[in-house]
Amino acid sequence: MDNLVREITIVGGGTAGWLTAGVIAAEHMANSNSGVKVTLVESPDVKPIGVGEGTWPTMRGTLQKMGIDETEFFRQCDASFKQGAKFAKWVTGAEDDFYYHPLVLPAGYEKINLAPYWQPQSDQVSFANAVSFQGHLCEKGLAPKQITTPEYAHVANYAYHLDAGKFAAFLQNHCINKLGVRHVLDHVTVVNASKNGDIASVSTKQHGDINGDLFIDCTGFNSLLIGKHYNIPFISKKHILFNDTALAVHVPYQTEHDAIASHTISTGQSAGWIWDIGLPSRRGVGHVFSSAHTTVENAEKELREYIRPSLGKQADEINVRKIPIEPGHRKLFWNKNCVAVGLSAGFLEPLEASALVLVELSAAMISEQLPANRDVMDIVAKRFNDKFLYRWDRIIDFLKLHYVLTKRTDSSYWQDNCLAQTIPEDLQTLLKLWRYESPWQLDFDHADEVFPSASYQYVLYGMGFETCARHTTRRSDNIELAQMTFQKNAQLTQKLLAGLPNNRELINKIKQYGLQKI
């Protein structure tokens, strides 16, 4: 018996399953006889959660590598542009309290750290506006590119908002018809182990046993392989990130011309926050909160109040879906010949759209480092586990950062979030350091961080964090370069405000005419 890795079996559809299938099938040529065989088994009985409607800019590269036409993606997935996130009422809770976390890097980021030069004028201009143009584009409802910009290329860096259900169906179609993924629509009844503890096959109701050299668990919160079969422990992070329930609604537009926000709007509430994601056909809105700090009734009331200005009386009638969340992740993600991707590996909360990006990163690493045979699989598994444990920790730190910098004291939720025992030690250390040195390029250990140091800057300084100026001068201090970079950003802002189209107009045009490949 040879132990080569030739067949990959993915259990579970949904965005995680189909994204993983697509990434691996495209790279390992599942549609050719000499490639790896990819099978996806999906139960017809299990409905995917389908809430994850925000992505990271990495999604552009992921789709492009899979050979997906961006125009078709817009047409079929109810997709829109996302240029970052606007955080309202996270700092003081006042009506005019907001800051942006845009997706473009601060101006001149490779050459200069503008944060210390901006700090003295922080009462005149927000950090995001001083160092980037993207917050202005979002406020004006402009798109991040023009109709003449080729597909996947950008004028301003962008990600997507999308309808997760439509996205999964779209990926499924592409995977089956273009990439050679075999689709088995059947319910997995039993997981069959072999002598060495690997998974030998999964039994299905009607299609018999399905073998695989590597199994990928994309079964969502059910966690059929990594959780139920292997009993890999789940590590709860609820003591750090309190949110454990979400209430989601679909909000219709009043007319087909209503503006589509090109950023996620996240608004702080008394015991959680509300996401607001504009798709071309509707808005996806939801309240994610801590059930230890409020009741479902109260959370629902706050949600209905949030949508009342746009819906009026209809706000009381709209159907609310409740989704429980267990913030945390598995202790290991890759065990034996099984790796978990998506919700089966863990979930924290919708903040900063970290769920889909983790799917992309997992799929990319499995695909890039796909073990050639069983002998080397454990080595890759260890690397994978190390890397992703690190990544989950960094994401947890980064999400928590949004809470610990609040100045809100109006509810126990915000107060508890600032208690030292709820803040990971790494984050406490960094916060201490950042009092005297702003985060920049070398602040983190890994070259491929999920959140770059720029993201930390946007949140820190967006939330009014202060880094003390150094008392001594440095040779690399360069106030002229800083001023020039601020000026250039201001000029670029004016130019882009004049040159970029309205977000909905561009999306309509893309659907009508399509984007060019070149």
Binding site: Q146, I147, T148, Y513, G514, Q516, K517
Partner: protein, 241 residues
């Protein structure tokens, strides 16, 4: 601002058109649309490129007249300095509009002639009469009418040509960099041309298909038209003196 009106022999009965092309009587633009049916004449005088329509992002074929935004190096006080005028320049101040027609309950769109009454070519005392004194079409207008028909048909044929080139991924972006006699540099980065290498590597069957459609000839005319870039540069250098 263009002022497009449906042409009729009552409201426009006295309208004349100044046919000479000088800076006073011609909208100044650095390019015009050209159609595959006129490539043979166009390529003898102007470089032919693709550019993206700023409204739709779709490719269209153009003849280039200048190196900067609103510069037409062929347009001089002595008239247009080339022996062929592209159809979409010839047509001015007329253009095609579409009128909805309902016949036996069937709605169809019919091409009709419009006129831009704000064009500098419009006159009431010089140039060619549009209508005869009795209200019939002047020979000049009949001529213009056939030019507009040629544009209407050429538009669709050119679109099929571009679609075919895109299917075979034969269009590539090109950056034109020019250094003039006064050492000034000019760059144009919105132009596209045909990827000659990819044309050379096309499978025999595709080459035959393109030939039968007349596209192979058009491809080579576009490629050959690039030599006219040096004429543009010469004209530009002459203006510097």
């Amino acid at each position: 601002m263009p002022n497009h009106q449906l042409l009729d022999n009552i409201s426009h009965k006295d309208v004349h058109v100044i046919t000479e092309n000088t800076p006073d009587f011609c909208d100044i633009s650095s390019y015009s649309h050209v159609f595959i049916s006129e490539f043979k004449d166009v390529q003898a005088h102007y470089p032919i490129f693709f550019q993206k329509n700023p409204q739709t992002g779709q490719f269209e074929t153009i003849a280039l007249f200048g190196l900067a935004g609103e510069e037409n190096l062929f347009l001089t006080d002595a008239g247009w300095q080339a022996n062929y005028l592209p159809l979409s320049i010839q047509r001015r101040p007329f253009l095609i509009g579409f009128q909805e027609n309902t016949e036996d309950g069937v709605v169809s769109e019919e091409p009709v002639i419009h006129i831009d009454m704000d064009s500098p070519k419009i006159s009431y005392n010089q140039g060619e009469a549009v209508f005869l004194p009795q209200g019939g079409q002047s020979p000049y207008l009949q001529n213009m009418s056939s030019t507009l028909m040629a544009i209407h048909q050429g538009h669709q044929k050119t679109q099929s040509f571009i679609d075919t080139l895109q299917q075979h991924e034969l269009i590539e972006s090109v950056e034109i960099k020019v250094t003039l006699d006064d050492n000034s540099n000019h760059a144009m980065n919105f132009l596209y041309t045909i990827n000659e290498e990819k044309v050379a590597q096309l499978p025999d069957q595709v080459v035959t298909d393109l030939h039968r459609l007349g596209y192979l000839k058009a491809i080579h005319m576009m490629l050959a038209s690039m030599t006219n870039m040096s004429d543009l540069i010469t004209l530009k250098n002459r203006r510097l003196k």
